[in-house]
Symmetry: C2
Subunit: 322 residues, 2 copies
């Protein structure tokens, strides 16, 4: 099988590549993994092909379509903070690039005698939901994004669903929880602080907390994110019952509970490195974010996450802490 990963240079993308290259990973019988992003690390595995570029280049997207990858992970995205700052860029890169890509896949599907219906796994987000909402969001709750990033994810979900319904692709949108603990340096995602307050203290560094500790949010580890992506490949259309966008499992906890987990694992010394520093604009954005999900359907379909925040910290220590 030939696999294409668009946005393979991001944090989840890199972890997905490592997972696919693990010696004992043999789910897909992989011939080639083509990686596409603005930046990509190097890999020694001969099945890897690296292509540097941007999804704003519709010609490259057309070339990819003509290569007929059987499985496509679409992870590329302008992140939430940047999409909010730069309205044009957010809509162009997030929505219109996806439109161009899906249209190119459709042309390939229609123009050939040899049937082509690629599986497309798209990383959506819980940012498709907006307040007011119930404490626990169920599988039938409406999308009403209150950020441009969420609006772009929700629009793409609709495209993926309609292109799939017409039979041009076989797509699924995974509404990832906020991925925590993110390794590396902070990016422009507004949700970054949920990771910063764990990662930085575990590295002996200070971290700023811009919101009240009572803020409740919805998390899963990077390891779970990769498992979600891989599990989604195995799903059959009939299992989805006309719903190609899934709320995934995760851990609902407050910032205070996150800090308690940190204390229980790394002690008061780590917790002392968290410095409260209110940021009203972040506090206001976070107010419109979901707190908890029932995720009945995704669980029935076999998706699994961590059970509590302690597990999330332990996975960070195992997988990413130097």
């Amino acid at each position: 099988m030939k696999i294409l990963i668009i946005g393979a240079g991001g944090m989840v993308g890199q972890k997905l590549v490592y997972k696919l290259l693990e010696p004992n990973f043999n789910a897909f019988n992989i011939d080639e993994i083509c990686l596409f992003d603005l930046y990509l690390p190097k890999y020694k595995d001969t099945r890897i092909r690296r292509v540097i570029g941007t999804v704003e280049n519709s010609e490259i997207l057309k070339e990819f379509s003509s290569e007929r990858f059987g499985l496509i992970f679409y992870l590329a995205s302008v992140v939430s903070g940047e999409a909010e700052e730069n309205f044009e860029k957010g809509w162009n890169v997030n929505l219109f690039s996806m439109w161009n890509f899906l249209s190119a896949l459709k042309v390939e599907h229609l123009n050939s005698s040899r049937k082509y219906i690629p599986k497309v796994i798209f990383t959506s987000s819980i940012a498709v939901f907006g307040s007011p909402f119930p404490d626990k969001i169920d599988d039938e709750f409406l999308c009403s994004p209150q950020t441009s990033y969420g609006a772009q994810k929700a629009s793409i979900e609709i495209l993926i669903s309609d292109f799939s319904r017409k039979g041009f692709i076989n797509g699924i949108s995974l509404r990832l929880p906020t991925i925590c603990v993110r390794p590396g340096t902070p990016n422009k995602a507004t949700s970054g602080f949920f990771s910063n307050i764990i990662r930085e203290p575990l590295n002996g560094k200070k971290a700023y907390l811009p919101v009240d500790p009572s803020v409740r949010h919805w998390h899963a580890s990077p390891r779970s994110a990769v498992n979600f992506l891989i599990h989604a490949v195995s799903l059959e259309t009939f299992q989805l019952e006309n719903r190609r966008s899934l709320n995934l499992p995760g851990v609902s906890c407050t910032v205070e509970e996150q800090i308690e987990s940190l204390r229980s694992i790394a002690g008061q010394k780590a917790v002392d490195l968290i410095v409260p520093k209110k940021d009203l604009s972040i506090q206001n954005m976070v107010k419109g974010w979901p707190k908890n999900f029932s995720h009945l359907k995704a669980s029935q379909l076999g998706f699994k996450s961590e059970n509590n925040f302690n597990e999330i910290i332990k996975i960070f220590i195992e997988d990413d802490l130097n």
Copy 2:
């Protein structure tokens, strides 16, 4: 006030124009009504300006933006049957023209020292919903369109909401029930038969019924549609509570109940003109359409429709039957 009606040549558009021109209608203190469509009837009122063209022409949309209409009704749409037949055309005319128009309005908003935030009333549709759904859809139920037309309407709703949240426009999307009884000749809307089986017999003509009489659906009269559009203008942003897409009131009834209403008003002779002629493709599309709504929020906001199908037929006889 200067008003722009995009899609003014359609059935609802024409009725809206007539309403605005009524001698005793003085809600908006109208200086000008600019009508835009592929086809437009002529009007004697000097406040009317007619512009013939298509929303696919983004230059015209830019010119309209620079004219700073205070109130814009956006009714233009490729209808459901055509959007399903011609995938490219549906997405281009419905979604991308709206994107071009909203972007032009945003440029006007940002480029000037004199504040410009037009009110935009968009006619969405209950086609944003797709099965499986409950018998009665509430205000918080998810959009999961099962037609391209519905997917396009749902995508536009997201755009309208995000452009409004950023303050570029002040938009509302009205999810109109199926408008019934449509006057004139049938168009390519798949839902046309709901009107045909009433209008044609009342005109002494045969009408074909492509679905089972047990099919239940959601209706409102053209007169209600116009009233919805005008009532929406008066709503303030704070009343919407972050939800700019509204499920409107209507009448839930089966085709059988429609036929009973026809019988009670026009007798068995009229009913005898309805000829059952199953069409599987229509039957399958209609299966995915909503049956009933709770419309709590819209009712609280003052939107009103008919109470039963008899009233809907009587309005057709009063307003449209020759």
